[in-house]
């Protein structure tokens, strides 16, 4: 099985950590988003949506991180059950978060990151402050729900269950993203902070390995290091302007 990924993508990092921690045998294939490798015709033949992460398992093509995770669990009976419990009720609680997080966590964190950091970094123009405030409010609401509802139970060490599950890894990776835009999602929310530390502890050294570039950008307060190739950033900018996604 080939796993196509780029560690700049949150769900790519989540699956990377999961595959490494569980020692699942796959071939890691890096698709460099900065170099627009996802836009080639060659990669279109791998994933018709031209996104990472995705897999090809002996000719079978699949995208969407959560779908890939479930397929990995079903195809590798040796992976420990804690990641996706077999018991119907525990499994449903993991599923509940995995479905919730798309619009409940991923969207607010990603749109904030894109508006505050990604588009201004690529375009050289200051961020749209009105939109930044709007999306910051949406993200804060999401973080409060995380702190006060998802992490409210004393019965559970982790998000959905007593042991760590894939829900925890996926959520952490999404919550790291806005930190590159200088917003510390884990700060001033004691349950969130404690839970984040536990997830890191359970998944290291792979958690930190997957977040190396992310940590670099956080430490430089959002500034790009010279390792980022400007030529490709400008090409990337042309591409996202063309898509009009952020405008």
């Amino acid at each position: 099985m080939k796993f196509y990924f780029d560690l700049l993508s949150q769900p790519s990092r989540a699956l990377y950590i999961f595959l490494k921690v569980t020692k699942t045998p796959v071939e890691f294939v890096k698709i460099d988003l900065k170099r627009l490798e996802h836009l080639t015709n060659e990669f279109k033949a791998v994933n018709r949506f031209q996104k990472v992460p995705c897999i090809v398992d002996n000719g079978f093509k699949l995208s969407e991180s959560v779908a890939i995770f479930r397929y990995l669990m079903q195809s590798n009976p040796n992976i420990s059950e804690n990641w996706y419990p077999k018991d119907a009720k525990s499994r449903a609680l993991v599923d509940e978060f995995l479905e919730y997080q798309h619009i409940g966590v991923r969207y607010p964190c990603a749109i904030y990151f894109q508006t505050k950091w990604l588009l201004p970094t690529f375009s050289g123009k200051p961020p749209n402050e009105k939109k930044v405030r709007e999306y910051e409010n949406l993200m804060i609401k999401s973080l409060d729900t995380f702190e006060n509802i998802w992490l409210a139970s004393d019965q559970k060490e982790f998000l959905a269950t007593k042991e760590i599950s894939f829900a925890d890894i996926l959520a952490c990776c999404e919550l790291e993203q806005p930190r590159m835009a200088d917003f510390d999602t884990f700060k001033d929310r004691p349950r969130l902070k404690k839970w984040h530390e536990k997830v890191k502890k359970e998944t290291n050294p792979y958690y930190d390995e997957a977040h190396k570039n992310v940590y670099d950008i956080i430490q430089s307060k959002g500034k790009l290091s010279s390792k980022f190739d400007l030529v490709f950033i400008y090409r990337y900018l042309r591409y996202i302007k063309f898509k009009k996604f952020f405008e």
Copy 2:
């Protein structure tokens, strides 16, 4: 098992149709969103997120339509396999769409509907035309992806598989929503139109039954019938203004 729903909610309709078509034994409990029944403390004890749909199965509480669907499949081995195939690859293809649709279909259609129709209807103020155009473009992109990628295969009669699956019901219910804002999502896209007719045919009379109120609003070109209780609409408005979700 108790199933809490309101047919104004897209995923409530999807699960309602699924439960009726498969004759799954549940107790249907209507939570009237217009009467703010989801905001009572009584309902908060049922679902901490105060949203529909949700279920309570002998004390076990679960929200998120796709998680509920998977739990229903695991708890009712008599439900026909076509809705969620057991074979790992076919199941993964259904999962791929179920995960994609949150941000790929549900979000663009719902935010357009809310901006163009829901907020103006409740507030009495004209829609924000700039935002309507922005969200319309996002929705059109989503519909084009539906027509040209998801429905491109000649090998499949339905979205993910040869037979109808839950992915088809869920997608149709999301695509009905913008029609209440006078945008016909099924028009001028021949594959989408044909597929919609097939899904209706496979799930009727329950599809039409679940969409009765939706059809009424579509036919009246977005105008509310006198059946909608204005007092509660104003209270609902106060609530959504308070939440600042649409602003």
